[in-house]
């Protein structure tokens, strides 16, 4: 499979598939395709009935993914302004992509989801879902706005805004916390939500907060 990113402001990821090659994505992302492309569903059954109900009813994630089979071309977009990156995963390499950011992945990439706990503070952050992708294979994702990449050494940490994290290596840990704005009771009352990410591994941040720019396909 070949993936080419076309356009800059609201780009598309154009995949060219050989006969029998398959890719998957969330429903509603396809922009155009070759009539020769086959279509099907990839059902998500990880975690059994309760796992599925948690993902779909609580997390708002789809029951199934859409699957496209070559030969031919097919283009995808999240229909929002944002940089798109194409990543090749080695066998066994795992990465985590923020919910509603994955554009496409080859069928050799194993797909799973997990929940990042929020701080649980009343009226504040309740956590979010990430897609876990495990190689071998190729995938593409789209951020909100620009994408900034950082490589953290083992034990190296940085604090990021709640909505800024778009992708990371699975080895990078993420933990939500409330960042006090100064000391005392007032400082804690005014605290804002942030994530502490700790290496080793790559971290990708986006410059727009999805909660303020929610457009983007089914998400």
């Amino acid at each position: 499979m070949q993936v080419e990113v076309k356009g800059e402001f609201i780009p598309i990821a154009l995949a060219t598939l050989a006969p029998g090659e398959q890719i998957y994505c969330e429903g509603g992302l396809m922009v155009y395709s070759d009539p020769s492309i086959g279509f099907g569903y990839k059902w998500l059954t990880q975690g059994g009935v309760f796992g599925t109900l948690k993902r779909t009813l609580v997390g708002g994630l789809p029951f199934q993914l859409h699957e496209y089979t070559g030969p031919g071309y097919v283009a995808f977009s999240r229909f929002r302004p944002g940089e798109t990156r194409v990543i090749v995963l080695e066998d066994g390499k795992a990465v985590d992509v923020a919910e509603h950011s994955l554009l496409l992945a080859t069928n050799t990439v194993r797909y799973d989801t997990f929940y990042v706990q929020g701080t649980g503070r009343i009226g504040r952050m309740i956590g979010f879902w990430m897609d876990r992708l495990t190689g071998p294979g190729t995938f593409a994702f789209q951020g909100h706005g620009n994408i900034l990449k950082f490589t953290l050494a083992a034990g190296e940490a940085m604090d990021v805004d709640h909505g800024a994290l778009v992708m990371k290596d699975a080895a990078v840990t993420v933990k939500a916390f409330n960042q006090p704005l100064g000391g005392g009771v007032v400082g804690h009352a005014l605290s804002f939500e942030a994530l502490r990410v700790e290496g080793p591994g790559d971290v990708y941040l986006q410059t727009l907060d999805p909660s303020k720019h929610p457009a983007g396909g089914p998400g």
Binding site: G82, L148, V160, P180, G183, F192, H213
Partner: protein
Amino acid sequence: MEADSVGGIAPAVLVTLRHGEKVLAAHGLMLYKEHQVQVHRRTMKSLGVSRTHLMGMHALGDSEESYFFAEFEGPGHVSFSRDKGGEVRVLQLAPGQTIRLRDGHLICFDESVRYYPMVLAQYQSPVPDANGQRATTYLFADELTGPGTIVYQSYGNILSFNLQPGEAMRTSVAGLLACANTVGLRIDWLASPAMASTGPVPLPVLDITGPGMVLVHSGT
């Protein structure tokens, strides 16, 4: 502090702070920071802005002024984003140099910069509403006086003008992004084409007279 704009679809600014250096930003603009950068609360009162003045601004209308800023203390990097498209500019203010920036566009500024929120201009609607009242619109701005660095973001692109003494230009009310405190501002009215139901509605514009810098942005 050193500030660099990271360009593209939705630009961000990357600030590098030396040990003990401080940068102030509106609450909620931080994109990321290094772990060792400390976060404090900086009240408007500590910047010389009285609570009475702020309450007066809020009473006038849609002023976005908060009662505090988030203060980030180095050493380390901190990045900010206003979560929108538009040019990000870094401006070094000379000692005593003052710029008036429309509210909602300031990203961050050096601790050495003097900050004061103000009303840049105001106008009353020439056409009464259904209750017979003529609504007053206030144009709020952040007045920033050097020395120090400020970072701001426009809607769309920024066009820069430097007016000579007595030289004049006209902008739409939304088009003015910032101006020096040396320029004169006056509201003028343009008659617009007749509208079917409401009749002719004059259009407010800003007449600006030099000397001084004027920044206009292309989006609203």
